[in-house]
């Protein structure tokens, strides 16, 4: 579900970047970046079985 929401949000930000005001696109991009970083941290839970 979170990825559907992320892709939807990206499509909306792209449309705003193409048709809407620039400051809104920049702000929403920042929110998107934070949301995707949070999603990464949520999914990066598997233990890395490294030998070094």
């Amino acid at each position: 579900m979170e990825f559907t929401a992320l892709f939807l949000a990206i499509a909306v930000v792209m449309l705003i970047a193409w048709h809407g005001p620039r400051p809104l696109a920049l702000t929403l991009f920042g929110v998107l970046l934070l949301a995707s970083a949070a999603t990464y941290l949520h999914h990066a839970t598997d233990v890395l079985k490294l030998s070094f």
Binding site: M1, E2, F3, T4, L6, F7, L8, I10, A11, V13, M14, L15, A17, W18, R22, A25, L26, F29, L32, L33, S36, A37, T39, Y40, H43, A44, D46, L48, K49, L50, S51
Partner: protein
């Protein structure tokens, strides 16, 4: 580098990103390999990479637009490195099939690294940032088509991930489209 040349290169970068997103779809549909959560997150970062060039085409090149793409490429590289490390031990078959000897997440790291190098190279050319007072250059059909293509592919990913995951968290190792499975029951 003139402003117009920079905008043309930005349009070309959108075609390249559209190619990456289309190739991911081709692997998903023809090879029936559903993307895992980390794979989807790499696609997300490739799509986010496109927002900077869209702004460059519409408002003219600005360092802040390139910075946005650099941040996306950096996060994408972190995600792909994480997935490479998950499968780095000898004997691990990796996730999904390999293309020309490399798995998709390795190709993704190569792609994000190339994007970082290209974006940093673009920032070397100051002339594109001059004449900002001039009105934005009207995007021609070449650039306009690139923008529409990348937006359409992102919208297709909305539908694809909804079919794959539904309203629940995506499976770690997905083998079926949850929503299609639910419809068949």
């Amino acid at each position: 580098m003139t402003r117009r040349l920079a905008i043309t290169l930005n349009a070309l970068s959108l075609y390249a990103l559209a190619g990456v997103l289309a190739a991911a779809f081709a692997a998903q549909l023809w090879l029936h390999e559903l993307p895992c959560p980390l794979c989807l997150l790499q696609r997300v970062q490739f799509a986010m990479l496109a927002i900077g060039p869209i702004l460059n085409i519409r408002f003219g090149p600005r360092p802040s637009h390139y910075a946005m793409s650099l941040l996306s490429a950096g996060l994408g590289a972190v995600v792909s490195i994480r997935q490479i490390l998950l499968h780095i031990l000898p004997g691990d078959p990796g996730y999904g099939s390999a293309l020309a000897g490399y798995h998709y997440y390795t190709w993704a790291l190569i792609g994000f690294t190339a994007a970082i190098l290209l974006l940093a190279s673009m920032l070397l050319f100051d002339r594109q940032f001059e004449d900002r007072a001039n009105s934005p250059i009207a995007a021609g059909p070449f650039a306009g088509l690139a923008v529409r293509l990348v937006i359409a592919l992102t919208a297709a990913n909305v539908a694809s991930t909804y079919l794959e995951c539904g309203l629940a968290a995506c499976a770690d190792n997905p083998v079926v489209y949850e929503m299609l499975q639910r419809g068949a029951r």
